[in-house]
């Protein structure tokens, strides 16, 4: 349902030099699908995500959702960040209710629906706490609840768990997997964590830098919930690893 055709992005840097952030990119994402943009830093994955979400215009090419061209951000497509996403002056409940309030829902309805969402991510007991009183993982769950509250067609996530410690990260991946199963939510997320990509995605678009481009799209045919230690899981991880090594022969910075 979301189709990106011939997306290119060229920046002019401060010295007026042109920088090709994204070369001709084609991508299709089906309803209910979870897609991961995987690659090292500088491969244009965040740029592509921002273009898909409507926050940046491509230099050329178009993004369409159900046939309608994306011209800007829209509440039907919510972008989640690694951090800073929550409003520090609002409680967890206030944050989750924010999108509903903007939609113009009556106050009582906002509260109830926001509370339901907090319950879904297991944070109903923290409804009145402000973000700085919550751990990083809890904050990200509130951000997810806020996005889900407005029933978006699509959720974009820019390295959603990048700021979390590795154990919290695993727990958050389980949490997201649970939500996906419950709501069949279409999601596109950016990651540089191979295991995270394999665990969560239906398909993985592997990207490489200079210029940024998708070099390969891998189907993940494993049944859910997935076991991180199964042979088939590690096989796919190995496949991606070798693909990344191949496509980034000049890019020695990347390590697992």
């Amino acid at each position: 349902m979301i189709i990106a055709r011939g997306i290119r992005k060229i920046y002019d840097d401060r010295r007026g030099k042109r920088f090709e952030a994204l070369r001709e990119t084609e991508l299709e994402i089906a309803r209910g699908e979870v897609l991961c943009l995987l690659g090292p830093s500088g491969c244009g994955k965040s740029t592509l995500l921002n273009i898909l979400a409507g926050f940046e215009n491509p230099t050329s090419g178009t993004v369409t959702v159900d046939g309608i061209t994306v011209r800007g951000p829209d509440p039907r497509r919510i972008l989640l960040f690694q951090e800073y996403g929550l409003f520090p002056w609002l409680s967890a409940l206030g944050n989750v209710a924010y999108g509903l309030k903007i939609k113009g829902l009556p106050r009582q309805e906002c509260r109830e629906k926001a509370m339901d969402m907090l319950r879904m991510v297991g944070l109903d007991a923290f409804a009145d706490n402000h973000p700085h009183e919550l751990s990083g993982g809890m904050q990200q769950r509130v951000a997810i609840a806020r996005a889900l509250a407005v029933d978006p067609e699509l959720i974009f996530m820019d390295e959603p768990f990048g700021a979390l410690d590795s154990l919290t990260r695993l727990r958050m991946q389980d949490e997201l997997e649970k939500i996906r199963l419950m709501r069949n939510q279409t999601m596109v997320f950016v990651s540089h964590d191979i295991a995270e990509a394999v665990y969560l995605s239906d398909r993985i678009a592997i990207m490489s830098p200079s210029p940024g481009q998708i070099t390969m799209v891998i189907q993940v045919p494993l049944t859910r919930p997935r076991s991180r230690t199964s042979q088939s899981f590690t096989d796919i991880q190995d496949l991606i690893y070798s693909e990344l090594k191949l496509s980034n022969r000049l890019y020695s910075e990347y390590t697992i």
Binding site: F55, I78, Y84, F87, P88, W89, Y98, K103
Partner: protein
């Protein structure tokens, strides 16, 4: 010294020390003052001793006019300060939010800002005649720039992540200002508002020394005209203490509001 003595700023002060250290400093200050007064360098008229000031302070308060002066000053301060708030905050939000407007108005603001509010006095008299209005105008001029500039800076430094989130959820311009920009900028605006109140207080006294027949500034001038240096000092001490109290009230409000905004990014000292 307790632990953490590798950084003298981290030394913990006990509740007793909190009173003992200032007590010592005040005592040394008053003894030095007494010593200079007794040294004979100055006549008692030029340099009254602390004891004389204490006696004349009591005398001054017995006259019963001090309270009236305080009330008049407070009224002018509040009027000028609230006017400055009502202009500075909305204008600051507008200029902070609209970069083109900011670049258009910033040079003009930067030229007017360094002019001492007192320099406006001749014009204030011409425009607002005598009585309270010129004094209120000077207080306004003293308060409006700290408020305006801190609001502009606060709005301009609101993290664009917040704006991005609000736009994503479909917030319109009005909702953006009210529900995102204002609360995000509020703690930093309050810092400027507190500085503005201090500036207003200082210039209020100066303003009242020029054109009016009442208020704390007038109290100082009036005492001088009566050749009562002791009363001048009494009035100065009163101005200092009231200014301290005002700032304490402001600090309390600031803490309360910042707390309810739940923003740990700006920590307020004192």
């Amino acid at each position: 010294m307790r632990n953490k003595n590798w950084d003298s700023r981290l030394v913990a002060i006990s509740s007793v020390e909190k009173w003992v250290y200032p007590g010592i400093v005040f005592m040394v200050f008053i003894i030095s003052w007494q010593a200079v007064a007794m040294s004979g360098i100055y006549t008692p008229y030029q340099f009254p001793s602390p004891l004389e000031v204490w006696r004349s302070t009591l005398e001054l308060y017995e006259q019963g006019t001090v309270l009236k002066h305080i009330r008049v000053s407070m009224y002018r301060l509040l009027a000028g300060f609230l006017l400055a708030l009502a202009t500075g905050v909305p204008l600051g939000i507008l200029l902070g939010w609209k970069t083109r407007l900011f670049s258009a108005f910033d040079p003009l603001i930067q030229i007017i800002r360094p002019i001492s509010p007192i320099a406006w006095f001749p014009l204030a008299i011409l425009w607002f005649k005598i009585g309270d209005p010129p004094a209120i105008f000077i207080i306004f001029m003293a308060a409006v720039f700290p408020i305006l500039l801190s609001t502009i800076a606060a709005v301009r430094s609101v993290h664009s992540f917040y704006v991005k989130v609000a736009v994503n959820f479909g917030a319109g311009p009005g909702q953006m200002i009210l529900n995102v920009v204002l609360p995000a900028a509020f703690p930093q605006i309050m810092v400027g508002v507190r500085i503005a109140l201090g500036s207003a207080w200082i210039h209020m006294v100066a303003g009242e020394m020029l054109g009016v027949q009442s208020g704390l500034g007038f109290l100082v001038v009036d005492a001088r005209n009566f050749l009562r240096t002791d009363w001048v000092i009494s009035a100065m001490i009163l101005i200092g203490i009231l200014g301290l109290l005002l700032d304490a009230v402001m600090a309390w409000i600031q803490r309360r509001i910042s707390g309810s905004f739940g923003n740990p990014a700006i920590k307020i000292n004192n």
